[in-house]
């Protein structure tokens, strides 16, 4: 009996001490899909968990599979639990999060890829299109049929930009490449993604790239057909295509998230649209697959160095669209801020931009 008393006393003391040790910052994140989807949501989640590795005193609150209609309630709940920094980490959370931000001026919000700003609402994303050029370089070197394929979700500007970058990269090292582009019309319908990939195989494409939420089914279809695959937006998809894997791009925001957390803690955070690329660690090139020759690796890495050093600008004119009209004039360069503007595909791409 006495033993029980001591155990209880000890437990309560430990509890009290734990309660006394306040976290230095409570940070919350909500995502629209599963945290291990091998794609966009996994990239967000892994970046988020990195905050705790870099700043051990933070407390992290996290919710996955949050529908847009429930976002406000869950963000409010996280604020009640003391969150001072929130990542509503899906594009569709922009307006729900903004209205929560309006009610809580003391809480900082960081939204991925949005176009709205407020005193306590900033945005972040990676310069994906610039880096997707590297996947094109790799694809252009690896293809034997000189045909590469791209499965897109919705034909919006950023997706068209990735398809364009993929093609431009391939053309930079292989002028004969033709890129076939197919849109599924949805961000996540894996059976349809399988059918879309097969329609590219039918055209003779032997390298497949993509921009959907989670390309697991595309990767497995490519693997089963014995063709090559490049991954995006999470490097975790590599395990679904171990043999045909060339390389990939992963969204890697962990260090940046920790930096934002520090800014919030010491009160130096300012709202801004933050877009950075491979040079700032916002996006990372994956490892190379077993079939990629050393020479190809060196070429891809050289281009990557060029991007990092700011020498290489993939969208530099003259660039023509499919009808042959000049869309980016000679001497002109489209930077990351214009990537949402694409409603055209580059000359040499087979497919319709919407």
């Amino acid at each position: 009996m006495r033993k029980v008393f001591w155990v209880v006393l000890l437990a309560s003391l430990v509890g009290l001490m734990a309660a006394a040790e306040e976290p230095c910052l409570v940070v919350g994140m909500i995502i629209g899909g599963a945290k291990d989807d091998g794609g966009y949501n996994q990239a967000q989640y892994e970046s988020f968990m990195r905050i705790e590795e870099l700043i051990p005193c933070v407390e992290l609150l996290f919710a996955e599979n949050v529908p847009e209609g429930e976002a406000e309630a869950i963000l409010e709940h996280m604020i009640q639990q003391g969150a001072k920094l929130l990542f509503p980490a899906g594009f569709g959370y922009m307006f729900p999060a903004l209205s929560v931000a309006e009610r809580h001026p003391d809480v900082v919000f960081m939204h991925p890829g949005g176009y709205m700003l407020a005193d306590n609402f900033g945005t972040y994303f990676s310069d994906v299109q610039q880096s997707y050029f590297l996947l094109g370089v790799a694809a252009g070197k690896m293809t034997k049929t000189d045909k590469i394929g791209f499965v897109g979700g919705m034909p919006i500007g950023y997706v068209l930009g990735n398809a364009n970058a993929f093609h431009l990269g391939a053309r930079a090292v292989n002028p004969d490449v033709v890129t076939h582009v197919v849109f599924t019309g949805t961000w996540l319908d894996r059976a349809k993604e399988v059918a879309a990939t097969q329609s590219l195989l039918q055209q003779g494409c032997d390298v497949i790239g993509s921009h959907v939420d989670s390309p697991i089914a595309i990767a497995q279809t490519a693997e089963a057909a014995g063709v090559y695959f490049v991954g995006y937006p999470s490097l975790a998809v590599q395990k679904f295509c171990p043999n045909g894997w060339i390389t990939g791009l992963g969204l890697t925001w962990g260090d940046f998230f920790a930096e934002i957390a520090k800014q919030v803690m010491d009160g130096t955070w300012k709202p801004a649209h933050i877009r950075k690329g491979i040079e700032a660690g916002f996006i990372a090139l994956g490892e190379f697959g077993p079939q990629v020759p050393e020479q190809v690796r060196q070429i891809v890495l050289t281009f990557a160095e060029g991007l990092k050093a700011g020498i290489l600008h993939p969208f530099t004119g003259p660039i023509r669209d499919q009808e042959g009209n000049i869309r980016i004039a000679e001497g002109e360069t489209w930077g990351p801020e214009r990537m949402g503007e694409f409603d055209w595909l580059v000359e040499g791409i087979v497919g319709q931009p919407g």
Partner: protein
Amino acid sequence: MSWDWLTWLTSGAILYAAPLLYPALGEVIEQRAGIVNLGLEGLMLVGAALAFAVTAETGSPWFGVLAAALAGGVMNLGFGYLVISRRAPQLASGLALMFLGFGLSAMLGKGYINALIRGLPRYQLPGWGAILFNYDLLVYLLFPLALGLWWVLFRTRWGLRLRAVGEDPITAFAAGISPAWVRYQAVFLAGLLAGIGGAHLSVGVTLTWSEGMTAGRGFIAIALVIFSRWHPLRAIVGALLFGGAVVFQLQLQARGVGISPFFLDMLPYVLTILVLLIWGRAGRQAAPASLGRVYYGTE
């Protein structure tokens, strides 16, 4: 011009149609017995999640398919209890079943989103390249299954009883048939088939699980039943037409036909409406007469 595209189209359409056809055949049985089940989507989701989870755990996709079939059957018996024994309205109960399936499948599949499995083994028809006509057994079984179902429904005593219950349960009861018992059998079979359809999607076609991965296929299956005018063999035609339209529009895109993908994406549905229009004009009403009505019984 080579006829290659037609081979690819056929090959792709069959693969796309298969997971639609299992639940559609189940719904044919169910509706022939007079019950509309709008919950196929939920049954398919549970089947897909469970099949994937069991496959990931045991390493055997066939265990996965078996588990999915049983789970679909048992779950649909629950629906049957509501609409047969408790006489609940069928449409609302079906929707409830769908939502239950959404939640349950999300829970079942949660730990397996990132799992890597070996799917159902594939067997290739001889004489085609590396990718074409390379299907798992569930695809090959579909035609004999539909044929068998047609025979059972229209050529056996059991089928006659089932259809009699669907046309007029009171008369069937007067003839010594127990409408409830017949309907429970129909509901169980339909659940089995919907579960298999979901399983085929996750361990046959895509080799992944993701929440809501059926993406409306449960409802397309119901449309196929109406499209087929409650006939198993016509359901095959319908599923192939629909799957073919989806695959065809993707092919057109990949080939670079100058038509907007938004427009092309509409084609399968436009086609469905067109066929319904034409067949609707052509025909005698084939719907079972008591379809969707609550049978209050005579006991």
